[in-house]
């Protein structure tokens, strides 16, 4: 039975891949067309000669620093707001925060409704990518910093809320029950009985999302916000591939630096 099913699944996956290729009109020959090869050679050739001098003779350092600072600031501000959204919504979305209170039918109905509404809101926040949110707010607020911060905070807040509420649902319930038995309110039970049991997991996931936020923040530059992505797209559009590579290497360095920082933290706190 198992071998039979496995073969069917593999066959189906292969057919799906081929079908998608035909639908999209994928043609492997595109890869080796002379024009394509020339552009590829130009672009990747430039990766060996990144430059710190802009085409107009000025130093690139001011642009690098402002791009770095903007990237980090958008990520930090967006995450700060996302943590507020995430904490509030993950409380509401944790199953049974109203439960165990010996709640009457009315309260249980209210609790279930609020939780369902919170989960729907989380799904809505998450289902739209930060780039799309950014385009939406760009239309509303223009190229204001608030555009980037809110565009990051909404999907990141939703994702934090979803994963945090799942972590909290898995947390051992004995302390929470003891606090309810001592007359604790749902908020107290959540903060004192559930969150401390999984605080390391919550923080670890939050930090991982911060790393993701840095990448997203850089990409928001493609829409015109002054992060590293802005400089990448500007130099790329002007065919200044050597400058493009400089900014890409800086972005790479930033991500690696945060990665190192997080691995030090993880080791110290014993995170997995």
């Amino acid at each position: 039975m198992t071998w039979y099913r496995r073969r069917t699944v593999l066959l189906f996956m292969a057919l799906a891949g081929l079908g998608a290729g035909f639908y999209l009109g994928l043609d492997p020959r595109t890869l080796v067309e002379p024009r394509t090869l020339r552009v590829l050679a130009d672009f990747f050739g430039a990766s060996f000669k990144p430059t710190l001098i802009a085409a107009d003779g000025h130093s690139l350092w001011p642009a690098i620093w402002s791009g770095l600072l903007a990237t980090a600031s958008f990520a930090a501000a967006g995450m700060s707001l996302a943590i507020v959204f995430g904490a509030g919504l993950s409380f509401l979305a944790t199953s049974g925060w109203w439960d165990g209170e010996r709640a009457g039918r009315y309260h249980r109905f209210l609790g279930a409704t609020v939780t369902a509404a919170a989960r729907a809101l989380i799904a809505a926040m998450r289902s739209v990518h930060e780039l799309l949110w950014a385009m939406l707010f760009l239309a509303a607020f223009g190229l204001s910093p608030i555009t980037g911060v809110i565009a990051l905070a909404i999907p990141y807040g939703g994702t934090l809320a979803k994963v945090w509420s799942e972590i909290l649902d898995e947390a051992p319930q004995d302390a929470a029950n003891a606090l309810r038995a001592a007359g604790g309110s749902p908020v107290q039970v959540w903060f004192l009985g559930l969150v401390p049991r999984v605080a390391d997991d919550l923080a670890s996931y939050g930090f991982y999302r911060f790393e993701c936020a840095l990448r997203s923040s850089a990409v928001l530059g493609f829409l015109g916000l002054p992060t590293l992505g802005y400089h990448v797209s500007l130099s790329f559009d002007n065919l200044l591939y050597r400058e493009t590579w400089t900014f890409l290497y800086i972005l790479f360095g930033l991500i690696v630096a945060v990665e190192l920082w997080s691995s030090v933290l993880r080791k110290r706190r014993g995170w997995a």
């Binding site: 209170e101 010996r102 309260h107 003891a178 001592a182 604790g184 309110s185 107290q188 049991r197």
Partner: protein, 251 residues
């Protein structure tokens, strides 16, 4: 604090945990609940402290029906009962101080809760220290709970219940996880505390000697029913043994 069960039953999806139990416990009484595992002791304690709802019948605490109270009154009533669960219900990642302070969540608003957790006032710390002194582990005030032994953790759970300033103390098998010499000290402590603070005391345990020695009244449970309920002087060792052996023969 007075407790009263009237024809109370608790039905879980697959079993009838308590079957038409009626009993009343007067204020200041000290009662041991005995009976084999699965007899319904934990469920009975749960009914009395409001963690379990009866499927039928009523639970009265101080002559008021638990199921008819508003959320606020229910919380106030639960605050007046110190409950020591079998698993202790502590937060192992927090300090002893914070765990004991949690006993008073029912009296604290948001700000007070936050303050107790992060930077408790000097008075609160002194009171917690005194409570820990009474249970014999005052030197552990600032230790993380997960560095303590099982017996010490149990004392933290007792201290948390005491810190509630309760009018009753309910303990679910408090000595199932400690060695026999500690067992006597733990139950003795609960009994002493109940007498010196005039608390109604309900403890579930398995030890005939201890139960008879420290509790004036024994309630024997078996398969969700009250098998006997009498002054401990009238409970013979054979009655006690029957309670456990009947369970074997019937299964």
């Amino acid at each position: 604090m007075r407790f009263e069960l009237e024809h109370a039953s608790v039905r879980y999806p697959r079993i009838l945990a308590l079957d038409n139990v009626s009993l009343s416990i007067a204020s200041g009484e000290r009662v041991a609940l005995v009976g084999p595992s699965g007899a319904g002791k934990t469920t009975l304690l749960g009914l009395l402290h409001g963690g379990v709802r009866p499927s039928a019948g009523t639970v009265r605490v101080d002559d008021r029906v638990l199921g008819e109270m508003s959320m606020k009154d229910l919380r106030a009533t639960r605050l007046a009962m110190g409950f020591v669960p079998q698993s202790f219900g502590l937060v192992p990642e927090s300090r002893v101080l914070q765990n004991v302070a949690a006993g008073r969540v029912g009296t604290r608003n948001w700000f007070g809760t936050l303050r107790d957790f992060l930077a408790p006032s000097r008075d609160t710390v002194r009171e917690i220290h005194e409570t820990l002194e009474r249970v014999g582990i005052s030197e552990k005030l600032y230790e993380r709970v997960d560095t303590l032994s099982g017996g010490q953790q149990q004392r933290v759970a007792v201290a948390r219940a005491l810190f509630q300033k309760p009018r009753s103390l309910l303990a679910d098998e408090p000595i199932s996880s400690v060695d026999p010499s500690r067992a006597r000290a733990t139950v003795g402590l609960l009994s002493d505390l109940a007498q010196e603070r005039e608390l109604t005391l309900l403890v579930s345990l398995h030890q005939y000697e201890l139960a008879r020695e420290l509790f004036p009244r024994l309630i024997g449970l078996r398969e969700g029913r009250v098998h006997f309920d009498s002054p401990s002087s009238k409970v013979s060792e054979s009655m006690f043994r029957d309670l456990y052996e009947l369970d074997v023969t019937s299964s």
